[in-house]
């Protein structure tokens, strides 16, 4: 169990975030994972292959990604923990797998755009964080997309990486991030990805099961702090509606 590491990482990310200058200079770990997935996808996803073969190639790709990311994270943690202040150093690296600040900033920008300059700039702001078509969205559609994305990413970008860090340290958090990034890149039900991305999508659903439920409980608990009865309504909605959503982890 690495509760202390997860706590250090979430606090570092809360107060420091990922510096903009570092982002411009060297990118971000999830971008590096993205490049790796992209390269393997171009290499192994053959549009002419049979569906079963493409599914197999997707499984091989996922295993390669997990092997590479897991090994790097394991070696990094092993080395860092031997240094003086090793927990702090490991937590600093692990903090890059959590996105409390950037998620808040991106969603707040959508509210600011709607409050200030209107629907067109709201659409542009929301297009940064959602995959759906934004051209036809009105103010209510933009606001719903922003809130849905906030709820989903609270689980995917904060609770899930922290939970897997508690269970598996830096490698646990990094492996989760790799699976979630793979799902966002190749887990679509389009002709190119339906078979190749099958394994990534299924594994992502699986590793998000515990965190999505914990996220729902945390949001209900947060609503209870408001003491306006909204917690009961939140709990009713979770109980009644979560099973109906397309994703087993939404609600």
């Amino acid at each position: 169990m690495s509760v202390a590491l997860a706590l250090v990482a979430i606090l570092i990310e809360l107060f420091l975030g990922y510096p903009e200058r570092l982002l411009r200079a060297i990118g971000h770990p999830s971008m590096w994972i993205g490049h790796l997935i992209d390269a393997l996808e171009h290499w192994l996803n053959r549009e002419t292959a049979r569906p079963q073969a493409r599914r197999g190639a997707g499984i091989v790709t996922l295993l390669l990604i997990l092997g590479i990311v897991g090994t790097i994270a394991f070696v990094l943690q092993w080395g860092l923990l031997r240094l003086p202040l090793g927990l702090l150093a490991t937590g600093l690296v692990a903090s890059t797998l959590i996105a409390q600040r950037s998620l808040h900033r991106h969603v707040a920008e959508i509210a600011t755009a709607l409050e200030g300059s209107g629907v067109a700039s709201g659409r542009a702001a929301v297009a940064h964080i959602v995959g759906r078509d934004t051209a036809g969205l009105d103010t209510a559609g933009i606001a719903r997309a922003a809130i849905e994305s906030l709820a989903e990413n609270f689980s995917d970008a904060i609770v899930a990486p922290v939970l897997w860090m508690v269970i598996g340290g830096l490698p646990g958090g990094a492996l989760y991030k790799a699976i979630n990034t793979a799902d966002s890149m190749i887990g679509h039900r389009t002709p190119r990805y339906a078979d190749f991305g099958w394994a990534a999508a299924r594994l992502d659903d699986l590793v998000n099961l515990p965190a999505s439920r914990l996220s729902a409980l945390l949001l209900v608990a947060a609503a209870a702090l408001n003491a306006d009865g909204s917690a009961a309504a939140a709990w009713r909605a979770v109980r009644r509606d979560a099973a109906r959503h397309r994703s087993p982890n939404a609600g």
């Binding site: 997860a6 998620l103 719903r144 906030l150 949001l219 397309r246």
Partner: protein, 66 residues
């Protein structure tokens, strides 16, 4: 999130020009506003603070026992 804010969220959405069906979450207003986004952000900050408090408590217990 939908229930806590008195909204109904999700429902059918369009991806790359294709309308994808989905169930609606919650039974509140469909007409969400910028103020609802602010409310969602406040809820998000509270839930995040509870998560951190939970981690700190578990870490504290482990240190106390260890």
């Amino acid at each position: 999130m939908a229930g806590a804010l008195g909204l109904s969220l999700a429902g059918p959405r369009s991806y790359d020009g294709v309308l994808v069906p989905d169930a609606v979450m919650g039974d509140g207003r469909r007409e969400a506003t910028a103020a609802d986004i602010r409310g969602a952000l406040a809820l998000y900050r509270s839930a995040d603070a509870i998560l951190i408090a939970l981690l700190a408590s578990v870490a504290g217990v482990i240190i106390a026992l260890g």
